[in-house]
């Protein structure tokens, strides 16, 4: 039997890779992917919990997380396209119109 902690370690690892990607990549698309990674990490840990706790709540939350992720992706890309039309850059570190 695979102990619960391993799953948690795995999800923590993937989560932190997502955080790393979010904090360091310049391309917005990749940043989006890092966010998806983080959400998937949480999904893994949730499914693991619901398996070990013999309770379905975790998986229901996973379903909702996936729907929200989809919605987020939709809106995220809408914003990127709107931004792209005005400033045709995709790199996050060039978006510093407002500072101070």
């Amino acid at each position: 039997m695979v102990p619960l902690n391993w799953y948690l370690i795995l999800s923590a690892a993937v989560f932190m890779i997502g955080v790393f990607g979010f904090l360091t990549r310049r391309n917005i698309i990749i940043i989006f992917m890092s966010v998806e990674l983080m959400l998937n990490a949480v999904n893994i840990s949730l499914v693991a919990f619901s398996h070990y706790l013999q309770d379905m709540r975790g998986q229901i939350l996973v379903i909702f997380i996936i729907t929200v992720a989809a919605a987020e992706a939709a809106i995220g890309f809408a914003i990127i396209i709107a931004l792209f039309r005005n400033k045709d850059t995709v790199h996050v570190d060039e978006m510093d119109e407002m500072k101070g």
Partner: protein, 639 residues
């Protein structure tokens, strides 16, 4: 109706009428209001004199002025022998000087203002004299100080006049500082500020010492000396005498009234009034005597070399006041007051004569530019001569009786400094005679040294000025007769009259010594006059040669021992310097402002730094968020 109330309130009414309606309605004839008021007071004073003579002492309150807890001060009047004497002096001199001023001040722009101030002064002086508690005394005290400020600075468009007025008031304030503390000490020890209870209980506090600012001091001495501070300031004794010579900037009647007859004598009156306290402390009396003597000598020496006619008389006043304090210092309060009484007549006369001389010489004050005025101004000459004789102490004249009484009681009294003080007194008598007659000979004898145009204008003063001169001359001569000592067969009525208030000092010495003292003072007088005649009538070159030979001495005397410069160097200039540089420069500007402006500037600076953290990069925001989370978790887990 107790009519003594009229004495002070008539002049007050005159002041109000003049000041309110003077400018528009009364203008030239505003003097009538003041003169009527002062004359009224004079009449009521005479009536009260008769009452007091018949033994009726009045001591009652008009209304309670300040009431705060157990501290109570009221506007109250005490009419006893001492008060009546002072009332006579004040009202008589004031009335005569009012009349004199009509002629002297004719045509002056602020005519009504002058008479208003004179009436206000008379009111304050009377309130001072008639007070029955220390607070009202203080009220009168500062009131006369204020009027002297107004009157000295009467010609306010002249810088020197307004400076002199300000100087007078501030120097007086120095004196009043001590005086105020004295009153507070009296209240704290006796629990009341009224004369009657204070003087009666004074005896049982005689031996007590008190802790004043950390030092254990004999109580009575402390109170006496604090009160004496006030009189030094008011009566222009060392070291607070500097304001009197400058006070000559005011019109001459003012000098006559305030700086000769009345205000400056307030200091002596205070010491006399508080004689029960002063007599309880040996050290206080010696201090008073020594101060009086030193000031007398100091002022007399300066008067020797002065050129300005009014300055000479001013220094002579300081010197004579020194005499009065000398008398009080040796316990002879009665003699002091008697000298005050006589001095007020002949000193006022001297000033008024000087005024009429100045009037004739169209404002010229330097006696070296005068001479030979005898034939042009006979009345002024004769009255001034009598006054000088009286001040020099020539037998038969008022000065002789009062000065001799003082010297005799100094010599014979049991005060430890009596003998030493008597010697100085005699020396001063000689100097007084010398400079008085130097003045007479330089102004009236010899040939005219002024400009031709002045000579053309020389004329005797109008009747309104000469009549007061004559009346005062009578006073100057006759006023002494009321106090002729037993030795010369007189009844010494004056001292007897004041005995119930001031007590009397028994003289434990033989008659022969009394004759010897009288002889010495007369000889001093005659030799002074003779020397003056020699120097200024016969060999006029001696003074010039003497001046060159003892040039340094001459210069110190001429510059009044550099006292004025000393004061401004010690007190005035450092105060302004500290204000400018230290207070504004450093504390206000650098320390407090630095903090007050520093904090917002610092915040602004810090705010600009913090703003830089907000670089606009999303990932920096996210990094800071994650970092924040990291720190919080670390803090939580390993606390």
């Amino acid at each position: 109706m107790n009519n003594y109330l009229l004495i002070p309130f008539l002049p007050l009414a005159a002041f109000l009428i003049n000041i309110l309606f003077g400018r528009k309605y009364l203008k030239e004839n505003s003097h009538w209001v003041s003169i009527l008021a002062v004359a009224g007071s004079w009449i009521v004073t005479v009536i009260t004199l008769l009452d007091v003579l018949s033994g009726k002492i009045i001591n009652e309150d008009l209304y309670s002025w300040i009431v705060s807890g157990e501290f109570k001060a009221s506007v109250g009047f005490l009419i006893d022998q001492l008060t009546v004497v002072m009332l006579i002096v004040v009202t008589t001199c004031s009335a005569l000087i009012h009349i004199y001023s009509i002629g002297y001040m004719r045509g002056d722009k602020g005519y009504y203002r002058f008479f208003a101030y004179l009436s206000l002064f008379t009111f304050c002086m009377l309130m001072l004299v008639m007070a029955n508690n220390f607070l009202q005394l203080y009220f009168g005290w500062e009131g006369v100080g204020l009027c002297s400020y107004f009157l000295i600075g009467y010609y306010f468009d002249k810088k020197s006049a307004s400076d002199a007025g300000k100087k007078a008031f501030i120097v007086n304030r120095f004196g009043d500082f001590g005086f105020g503390l004295g009153i507070i000490m009296i209240f704290l020890t006796f629990g009341t500020a009224y004369y009657a209870p204070v003087f009666s209980q004074a005896k049982n506090f005689a031996a007590q010492t008190v802790n004043f600012l950390g030092y254990d001091v004999h109580l009575m001495t402390l109170i006496a000396l604090l009160l004496f501070c006030g009189s030094i300031g008011k009566s222009a004794q060392m070291p607070l005498h500097v304001w009197l010579p400058d006070a000559m900037e005011g019109p001459t009647p003012v000098s006559a009234l305030i700086h000769a007859a009345t205000m400056v004598t307030a200091g002596v009156f205070l010491v006399a009034r508080c004689s029960p306290i002063f007599s309880l402390s040996e050290t206080a009396l010696t201090v008073v005597a020594l101060t009086g003597a030193i000031t007398a000598l100091f002022a007399a020496t300066i008067a020797l070399v002065q050129k300005d006619i009014k300055r000479i008389i001013a220094y002579s006043t300081i010197s004579q006041l020194g005499y009065m304090f000398l008398a009080a210092g040796v316990g002879a309060y009665g003699a002091g007051v008697f000298h005050l009484y006589t001095h007020s007549f002949f000193k006022a006369l001297l000033f008024l004569c000087a005024g009429s001389v100045m009037h004739a010489m169209s404002g010229e004050l330097d006696i070296q530019k005068m001479g030979g005025l005898k034939k042009y101004m006979p009345i002024t000459y004769w009255t001034m001569l009598f006054a000088s004789l009286s001040i020099a102490g020539m037998p038969g004249f008022a000065g002789f009786f009062s000065k001799d009484e003082i010297l005799w009681l100094a010599y014979s009294g049991q005060s430890p400094v009596g003998k030493f003080v008597w010697v100085i007194g005699a020396l001063v008598a000689f100097l007084t005679a010398f400079y008085s007659f130097r003045l007479i000979f330089l102004t009236f004898h010899g040939k005219f040294r002024g400009t031709h145009e002045q000579e053309h204008h020389l004329h005797e003063s109008p009747k309104t000025m000469t009549v007061p001169l004559i009346l005062l001359c009578i006073g100057a001569v006759a006023s002494g007769w009321v106090g002729i000592p037993h030795l010369l067969g007189g009844g010494a009525h004056f001292m007897e009259f004041l005995k119930p208030v001031l007590g009397h000092s028994e003289a434990n010495a033989t008659h022969t010594e009394e004759w010897m003292v009288m002889a010495i003072s007369t000889i001093a007088g005659f030799s002074g006059i003779g020397l003056a005649a020699l120097f200024y009538l016969v060999k006029t070159d001696i003074p010039v040669r003497l001046a060159q030979k003892f040039n340094t001495v001459y210069k110190t005397l001429w510059n009044k021992y550099y006292v004025d410069e000393l004061y401004s160097f010690i007190i005035v200039r450092p105060a302004i310097w500290t204000a400018k540089n230290i207070l504004i420069g450093i504390t206000d500007a650098r320390i407090i402002e630095a903090v007050v402006n520093g904090v917002p500037k610092g915040l602004g600076e810090f705010s600009r730094i913090l703003r830089k953290v907000q670089t606009g990069l999303v990932q920096r925001y996210a990094a800071i968020m994650a970092l924040g989370l990291l720190i919080i978790v670390a803090y939580m887990l390993w606390r």
